[in-house]
């Protein structure tokens, strides 16, 4: 009950009872806020330990580097703004396990990325392929640069003519 904390009835400013009431309500408020601060969010996760290669580096450093490179470019299916390298979600751990296992078995990162794209679409990769739909994005810097140059040129010309 955080709502309506102060007594509606006007009481004397120095009424002891009113102060005690206010104090009691404040402590209640603080307690609720503290409880919220220390509350643990409930994740829909199992209580199984993470997959073997989820948080373990491959013994071959070259393979581990390959795996890291790919894991940083694969989107986590649960925390969708994060890569599977950064996410704490269980499924992200399982995906890291999958990536490391396949790299250890000699598969190329591009092939693993392809396998994931086949299942989840281009969305799963943070490095989308260049497609016609993305062309405006690539062209935008040049267009903006041209527009800026044009603007600056016209301003300078005007200033010189003044």
């Amino acid at each position: 009950m955080i709502r309506s904390s102060f007594p509606r009835k006007r009481e004397s400013r120095f009424s002891r009872r009113a102060w005690i009431l206010v104090f009691a309500r404040m402590t209640k408020r603080v307690a609720v806020i503290a409880a919220l601060l220390f509350a643990v969010p409930t994740f829909a996760d199992s209580d199984m330990p993470p997959a073997y290669w989820a948080d373990r580096q491959l013994p071959n450093s070259q393979q581990e580097a390959q795996a890291q490179g790919l894991m940083q470019e694969i989107r986590c299916l649960v925390c969708q703004g994060e890569s599977i390298a950064d996410s704490d979600a269980e499924l992200a751990g399982d995906m890291r396990d999958l990536v490391r296992r396949r790299i250890a078995a000699g598969e190329k990162p591009a092939s693993i990325r392809g396998w994931l794209i086949q299942r989840y679409g281009n969305w799963i990769s943070f490095r989308p392929p260049t497609q016609p739909v993305g062309w405006p994005l690539w062209l935008a810097p040049f267009v903006l640069l041209l527009a800026g140059g044009f603007l600056a040129a016209s301003r300078l010309r005007r200033r010189r003519s003044q």
Partner: protein, 175 residues
């Protein structure tokens, strides 16, 4: 500067704020849709998840009859609520194969004892490998697979009672 150009920044700001408000009012769809619909099921072979109920492999699914592949787990709360719906589907003569994600045999046995067992077979997927191969991203999810082992439908989340006809219709089509 000409008259209307002077208001361009304000106009731009209004446009940006309007876009933000629109996005707030219409949050983007965060469900992940599998791209495997219409494609053959991936290869897998799953061990039994609980003693007494056999596991299964992808090869065993292409036996001419449509089925439901149900990804679930004993630790998944919505899966508990879905039990009556799965039971209803089973009573309609639909085969349901379960895939238990990251589960322990004893916990799964308790789950089945509590909620009933609508599954013909239950395979164990302790590292979500088969789930990833299906293009699935959580529990519960249900796939309709036809008799040739081709994926027809993905249902994300628990099946609600009013969604049963849509599922059975796809199963009928897949026959």
């Amino acid at each position: 500067m000409s008259g209307w150009l002077r208001f361009a920044p304000i106009f731009l700001l209004v446009l940006i704020v309007a876009a933000m408000l629109w996005r707030l009012a219409n949050p983007p769809d965060t469900t992940v849709h599998s791209q495997m619909i219409g494609k053959p099921i991936p290869q897998f072979a799953l061990a039994a998840a609980v003693p007494g109920i056999s596991g299964f492999s992808s090869a065993q699914l292409a036996d001419g009859k449509p089925k439901l592949i149900h990804f679930f787990a004993s630790w998944c709360v919505p899966c508990t609520g879905e039990a009556p719906v799965l039971d209803h589907l089973k009573k309609q003569g639909i085969t349901i194969e379960g895939i238990a994600i990251r589960d322990r045999p004893e916990e799964l046995a308790q789950f089945l004892a509590r909620n009933g067992n609508p599954f013909d077979r239950i395979g164990s997927d302790p590292e979500s490998k088969t789930q990833l191969a299906f293009g699935s991203s959580g529990v519960p999810e249900t796939f309709v697979v036809d008799g040739h082992g081709r994926i027809r439908l993905q249902h994300i989340g628990a099946i609600e009672a009013n969604e049963i006809p849509a599922i059975t219709a796809v199963v009928e089509q897949a026959r």
